[in-house]
């Protein structure tokens, strides 16, 4: 209850505050960029703990694909990828936190859906990860496919797209199940691990991490084959601040294009000085004024690539060993995947 009241109060107060900051001329920075520059850091809403996406290590340092996009935005806007304040959010808190201005951007395994884009007053950048609803079970229950799960107790996050996907999937297959809905990531996973639930369901890409790190014996668990929904995960921002939305969008495309054009954190400096490819020159800020058009320094994308890396590097860092998640549809379009950087000219 208290959390909800806090959210409600924050919503009302932020509403009152944001009244003062409407109708800014185009030449000036938008309200979010202005606030970020004044504050000197990006407030980034992330998952409380999901391996591969956002997890704090034992020194309190955040790691993960979602985290890397927070860092990329900080590198582009402030020139330093470390100037990020991470705000871990539950699945229920995340949208009110973004709407109320508690965070500047929401990089939190958030599926882009029509309702969220429209009725919630948000905008979403290009998907940074494609996944779908997956199911993890204990091998001892003898289930090898979703059809074997009739009557099972399913642990799932509240307010997630997964929650709705399961309802639709089980209804379509005319099977019953018992949802066990807990918001805290730790509580939910431990409910599954201690046997309260037969099934743990979330975005499939989130499951290997829990299997590897949270299970007493990872070999006792298996992830059922198949992906049962479309979950394009993207960075969310408040609607109404076009400049900030554009920055999120083009930072993401810059990471895709950098991988496609072979620019890495290691060779970016050398390429910037020596390349004759006009596309690379523009992206790295050696030529043109892409940065200025976004209201940023001209080396914005150079900072992103040198400090955070291209999409391939980000992926390898977070999904390489020990998780070893195959790139699948998250590969570049040139390799049969869906990652397609838009032209940056």
């Amino acid at each position: 209850m208290t959390k909800s009241i806090k959210t409600f109060a924050a919503l009302a107060i932020a509403g009152a505050v944001s009244m003062t900051s409407v109708g800014v001329a185009l030449a000036e920075d938008g309200p979010t960029v202005k606030a970020v520059k004044e504050r000197g850091e990006v407030l980034c809403g992330v998952h409380q703990g999901r391996y591969g996406f956002a997890i704090a290590d034992n020194q309190g340092k955040w790691k993960g694909l979602d985290v890397d996009y927070c860092r990329a935005v900080a590198a582009a806007v402030l020139g330093d990828s470390e100037k990020v304040k991470y705000i871990p959010l539950g699945s229920v808190q995340r949208f009110p936190a973004l709407q109320s201005g508690e965070v500047d951007m929401l990089s939190r395994t958030t599926t882009v859906t029509l309702t969220r884009d429209s009725a919630l007053g948000l905008n979403f950048g290009p998907p940074t990860f494609y996944t779908g609803t997956g199911f993890m079970v204990r091998k001892s229950i003898g289930a090898t496919k979703v059809e074997d799960l009739a009557g099972a107790a399913v642990c799932v996050f509240p307010g997630s797209t997964t929650e709705k996907n399961i309802a639709a999937l089980f209804a379509a297959k005319k099977m019953t199940y018992t949802p066990v809905v807990i918001e805290s990531s730790k509580q939910l996973v431990s409910s599954y691990m201690t046997g309260r639930c037969d099934v743990l369901s979330m975005d499939q890409a989130g499951l290997p991490g829990h299997q590897q790190f949270d299970a007493d014996n990872p070999a006792d668990h298996m992830i059922l084959p198949g992906v049962f929904s479309k979950e394009p995960l993207g960075v969310g921002v408040r609607a109404g601040d076009d400049q900030w939305f554009d920055i999120i969008k083009w930072v993401t495309h810059a990471t895709f294009n950098a991988e496609e054009w072979g620019i890495t954190s290691a060779n970016a400096a050398e390429l910037k000085a020596s390349t004759t490819d006009i596309n690379i020159q523009r992206l790295l800020g050696a030529k043109g004024d892409l940065g200025k058009k976004l209201g940023l320094e001209n080396d914005w994308a150079y900072n992103v690539i040198t400090q955070v890396g291209n999409y391939g590097e980000i992926y390898a860092r977070n999904w390489g060993p020990p998780l070893n998640l195959d790139r699948g549809i998250n590969n570049l379009w040139t390799n049969g995947g869906l990652m397609y950087g838009f032209p940056m000219k």
């Binding site: 919503l11 509403g15 009244m19 229920v92 709407q99 429209s118 009557g151 929650e163 807990i182 046997g195």
Partner: protein, 392 residues
Amino acid sequence: MSASDNKQPTQGSFIYDQWFRSIVYQVLLAVGLGYVGWALFSNVIENLDRQGIATGWDFLWTASGFDIGESVIEYDAGDSYGRALLVGFLNTLRVAFLGIIFATILGVFMGIARVSKNWLLSTISSWFVEIGRNVPVVLHVIFWGTIILLLPQPRDAMIPFEGAFIMNRGIVMPFPVYNDAYPWVGLGLIAGIVGVVLLNRWAQRKRERTGQYVGTLWSGLAVLIGCPLVVWLAFGAPLIWDVPSLQGFNFKGGLQLSPEFVALFVGITVYTASFIAEIVRSGIQSVPGGQIEAAGAVGLRQGFIMRYVVIPQALRVIVPPTASQYLSLTKNSSLGVLIGYPDLVNIGNTTLNQTGQAVEAITIMMLVYLAISIVISLFMNFYNRVVAIKER
């Protein structure tokens, strides 16, 4: 004392009139509060509108698309958000109602045990009270939630008696299959309760008129149990037990209590019972010892002293703070959200998240808790008037 009694002789200007001033202050306060409320409301609406966030109540009638683990009424993902919230409301009522009943029974027992001369009883009771009330209620709920997850799997469930199972999926036990006779048996029970009240009244009148004591304990119990029993027998004593059995992953049939329900129920009941125990103890001890000795001196029996001397005076002290405990128990039931009990807040949060309509969802939650609390308050105020000592 009415305002006009207080009216002072007007000395010149009516500005010094006490009655006039009190009216002015109250009007100013009302206008001020009204303005603050209106400013908050219009600000929220305006800003939601500008941020492009949907508002309105239409979502209550659209399909929710999510399932709920346990429900008193029929519900599936095709039903509306409104019905989902109703399910949450009923789940809140269920745990609060049972919590209040059991916290009262346990609290009264522990409170009496605490003043008992039996060393073992009073020691157990003081440990119960000190542990119960000195641990935050959140930890009570999480503690029981963790304990229940450590219980064995369904296949190795503990079996306290034939047909009942205790495991990490909760508690299941046999339950009678519904029969058309049962509503009539329920009516019989109500008749029994009315009978007991009438019997007590008759015994009291007789005692006051003739001074002769008529024991009503056994005869009262006979009336209470006898009425529904006769109805049940008249219908041919229908009773079929629905015995739970392990099918697939889980037990089917019987009475099923989910681990979330059990953890929340036990947690808030124990916590509140420890406060009620202290309230009961203080109520009993507030009766001066001289009165008990005096009652003994005129030859009253122990039970009599308790019933006619101690309890009527103790209740005056006990009832008002106990009402507050009932209110806090009801509101503490919202902690179910921590362990996944689908109460009003849990479902309200999901609704808020799926529809994005935070203001509406939270308004509904606040109004519902307000309504429940007001009903409890009204009932307890009524009961307080009944048991209060009539000043004559």
